[in-house]
């Protein structure tokens, strides 16, 4: 099939999912399977004095109960996978079950295994734990103070890391005509995939192989880490991610729970299933964001920006999560200048331990926070010098001619044309007219707000030597095998691990174009460490740019070999063979041709291959990109704020994203919609609330506002295409752009609406009450 890339094809994965034939973790039933539940700490910080499990063990359904002490020396601590260098990183060991001290509400205390789902939960009430409650450190800035309760006794002031990048000379700030300063809090939110986490372990005593099905965005990382934690060979551990009901970063982490289930399955010699409850998910799955960001932006009255100085104080929770240390440092700190050519920049990050659930990557991971502070402070700077925020942006955006552009923190932006999506978005909303209308309506007492976000973000990490230099405990390359069967049907293996993005379709499109075979002839295999070579999974919008590129390269290699076979059979020189729409043809000799399927058969039969050629038609590639990719674009939010109630009403939401080559416009737009929804959710509704004792008060879906359909406007999404030079597809990544761009777009819109009242910031989420209060306390009131 030609021209599959770029076509809005329906997804290959959907018929299965639409008919109830998906296979999610809880759908897996194994003979003799047991059910696990985890008793979790109700205290943010306490000593465990005594655990009495006798009553639980008396239940006829309970097979086993394990406590932290029972497992001491049998399973190791679960390590972080991002050991950021040069920041005095202090990693405290996180044992799969707390041994003598619990450090957050939700910390695992005991593992119960029963022969029935309901009986297992009953047994939670039969375990008696005696705690000695300790004072808790909850918010990061307070936790850093001298005398604050220590989460880990040997970690002074709870400081897990102190990281710095870039330098801004004091005189630059002193000599600046304008310095605008603000402190933003990017609040803690929950990724909240609709399927919670799950793990199922099965041990085969014959082969001594442990199979672990778990909700993982990166099964190979899980295998690598858990093999170490459980003390078994990677060759004896098979990790499979079944169908997954979303991840959004929340399923990157290697969690203690997965280690526990693997251990119990092996220890008991029976399959064990653990399904996380939703209320358990809120306290026991990694959260996102929770960063206090102090920013100073310096420049001239004419709008020339000269320097940005940022301090991020990040709440890392009680332990370092898998990616946790990198989020507020590398991901955030190197992107603080955003899409603007600001010559001087510095970032200082404190990562702080607290008695809360650990934080980790959540859709965008550090980039939404970086984009938030720069896009918000740009607006405040424009307000300070009396310039339209659009003009200030235009004046400072990195110019098209400057690419590849090196930002002040040393990152090289691969390619870009920031004016292109900006211009397109302005035309869609008719910006000038809009501003005039806004002015008119303001005079009538109506609060209309226009919010811009001209963002850039980094994704598709690479190359691996850079990953190593920034302390990432893994590679960032990707692999793919394209295997052509004798019939010409194709199986494609990819190391990415999709969970809703639709890789089977988009990667299928890449292969269909390369091999000239119909989409129906291509099957994709993901997410099984036994089927797929070492790889690194799906996160950070890397799947297409890195994983898709690996697929394209492997398919090219297949064609290259097939061409040689065709040349051999057609008795022509390889250079004289063309390949189009699945047909190998001798140039200028009509009829002298072979179909792809014919060559597939020849290659697999190997009856007549060129001298020295190995049989079969299969190729593998390991692609390590030379650089990150940097998608960009413009989002514009238009809102009206009700003065009397503080409610925010949507007028329009327009986004123009440039994500490089768009493989499938339909699924790409779906990614943008979903991303925007999560960003808007953060701006307007979502937020974790902890009491000062460290109790999570927003711990159910009754209390945490996951956005509903009626909350949203119609999202007007379109694309421009500026190809990336760092991968053969020219793709950049689309998974996180919507979230990254939309948070400041919405906030800028609301702040713009409240400009007549002099309101500069309201802490997210913008509940009507907060907005109403800001109006009441505003100028002129």
């Amino acid at each position: 099939m030609a021209n599959a890339v770029g076509a809005p094809l329906k997804r290959k994965e959907d018929p299965r999912l639409l008919t109830g034939n998906g296979c999610f973790a809880d759908d897996i039933q194994l003979p003799g399977m047991l059910h696990a539940v985890i008793l979790r700490s109700p205290h943010a910080h306490a000593k465990i004095k005594k655990i009495n499990v006798e009553e639980a063990l008396k239940s006829p359904h309970v097979i086993a109960v394990y406590t932290g002490k029972d497992l001491e020396g049998k399973i190791g601590p679960v390590p972080s996978s991002w050991l950021v260098p040069d920041c005095n990183l202090k990693e405290a060991p996180q044992y799969p079950l707390a041994i003598d001290r619990v450090r957050y509400v939700g910390d695992g205390v005991a593992l119960i295994i029963a022969d029935d789902r309901y009986a297992a939960r009953d047994a939670l009430d039969l375990i008696d734990v005696e705690y000695e409650v300790l004072p808790a450190a909850v918010r990061q800035k307070e936790a850093m103070q001298k005398g604050a309760p220590l989460v880990h006794d040997d970690i002074e002031n709870n400081i897990a890391l102190h990281w710095k990048a870039g330098e801004v000379a004091e005189e630059i700030m002193e000599n600046a005509e304008v310095v605008v300063q603000e402190s933003f809090y990017v609040q803690r939110v929950f990724p909240s995939p609709i399927e919670t986490r799950a793990a199922i372990g099965q041990y085969n005593p014959g082969s001594e192989e442990l199979t672990l099905w778990c909700t993982s965005q990166n099964p190979h990382i899980h295998r690598m880490v858990l093999a170490g934690v459980l003390g078994i060979s990677e060759a004896k551990l098979r990790v499979i991610a079944p169908d997954m009901g979303g991840g959004f970063g929340g399923k990157i982490g290697v969690y203690p729970d997965e280690a526990l289930i693997g251990y119990a399955a092996r220890d008991l010699g029976r399959p064990v299933k653990w399904i996380e409850q939703r209320s358990e998910h809120f306290t026991s799955s990694n959260a996102g964001r929770d960063e206090v960001i102090d920013v100073e932006l310096a420049g001239n009255r004419d709008g020339t920006l000269t320097a940005i100085r940022v301090k991020n104080t990040a709440n890392l929770g009680a332990y370092l999560s898998t990616m946790g240390p990198g989020v507020s440092t590398i991901d955030f700190g190197l992107m603080i200048t955003g899409a603007y050519d600001i010559p001087h920049a510095s970032c200082e990050t404190f990562g702080v331990y607290t008695n809360t659930t650990p934080t980790d990557a959540y859709r965008g991971a550090g980039k939404p926070e970086a984009t938030y502070q720069i896009e918000r402070i740009i607006d405040l700077y424009a307000r300070e010098i009396g310039m339209d925020p659009l003009e200030l942006r235009k004046k400072n955006l990195v110019r098209k001619e400057a690419f590849p552009y090196t930002n002040a923190q040393g990152l090289v932006y691969d390619s870009g044309d920031y004016e292109k999506p900006l211009q397109k978005a302005l035309e869609i909303v008719n910006y000038e007219q809009l501003r005039q209308e806004q002015e008119k309506l303001r005079k009538q007492g109506k609060l209309i707000g226009i919010g811009l976000s001209t963002y850039v973000e980094l994704c598709g990490f690479g190359p691996s030597k850079v990953a190593g230099a920034i302390g990432f405990q893994g590679g960032v390359w990707e692999n793919s095998t394209v295997r052509v069967h004798p019939s010409g049907k194709v199986t494609v293996y990819s190391g990415t691990s999709p969970h809703g993005q639709g890789h089977a379709t988009t990667f299928g499109q890449i292969v269909a174009d390369k091999l000239g075979v119909p989409m129906e002839d291509i099957e994709l295999v993901f997410s099984d460490t036994k089927a797929i070579s070492m790889s690194w999974g799906t996160y950070g919008s890397r799947s297409t740019a890195v994983g898709g590129a690996a697929v394209a390269i492997a398919a090219d290699r297949v064609v290259e070999k097939a061409k040689k076979i065709a040349a051999h059979e057609l008795e022509a020189a390889v250079e004289d063979i063309t390949f189009e729409n699945g047909v190998f043809q001798v140039k200028g000799v009509p009829g002298q041709q072979r179909t792809f399927q014919e060559i597939a058969k020849s290659a697999n039969m190997a009856w007549n291959l060129p001298e020295g050629m190995e049989p079969s038609l299969e190729a593998q590639s390991f692609f390590d990109p030379e650089n990150f990719v940097y998608p960009f674009g413009t989002h514009i939010a238009i809102v009206e704020v009700d003065k009397e109630t503080g409610e925010i009403e949507w007028k329009r939401y327009v986004c123009v994203d440039d994500v490089g080559r768009v493989i499938n416009p339909l699924t790409a737009e779906g990614q943008v919609h979903g991303g925007v929804a999560q960003g808007v959710g953060q701006a307007l509704w979502e937020g974790a609330i902890y009491s000062k004792e460290g109790q999570l008060l927003s711990g159910t879906l009754m209390d945490y506002a996951l956005p509903k359909a009626r909350f949203f406007p119609h999202i007007e999404s379109s694309f421009t295409e500026t190809l990336s030079p760092v991968n053969p597809l020219g793709a950049k990544g689309v998974g996180e752009t919507g979230t990254t761009a939309s948070i400041p777009a919405v906030m800028n819109a609301v702040m713009d609406a409240l400009k007549p009242y002099g309101v500069k910031d309201i802490e997210m989420p913008l509940t009507p009450e907060k907005v109403w209060r800001a109006i009441q306390n505003g100028e002129g009131n």
């Binding site: 109700p42 004792e693 109790q695 008060l697 711990g699 009754m702 209390d703």
Partner: protein, 150 residues
Amino acid sequence: MNIESSHTFKGVSRELLWKTLQNKEALRRSLPGCQSFEEVEDNVFNAELGINIGPVKGAFTGVVRQVDINEPESYRLLLEGKGKPGEIDADAQMSLEETDEGTILTCRADVKVTGVLAAVGQRVMGGVAKVILGQFFKDIQKETKEMAKL
């Protein structure tokens, strides 16, 4: 969280209200959902209470301590309770103020909860606590009549 509630016991003298509040039997009958209430030592009681806060239901067992007794003006109640839905730790200042109308009893409590109680209950707890206290005040009012007969 802080909970504050007060009630005017019309036509009840401060001494009578004090006496009622110090009477173990009267308290046992008035405490909402009270299943047992035993004095284990001076001013220390073991109590078993049934609590029903919206979606959270359960039995709580705990210890109630009466301290800083300043008859007949004020005392402090320290409560530590434990149940399936979570733990409760409360410090309540009870003060009795005589007026022309009668005696005003004010309860100012700092309440800490854990577990499901915190996650689910906190949102409705303020309101529920007021309802429970209201019930308690009403029952105590009844008890003062019995007490006056003695």
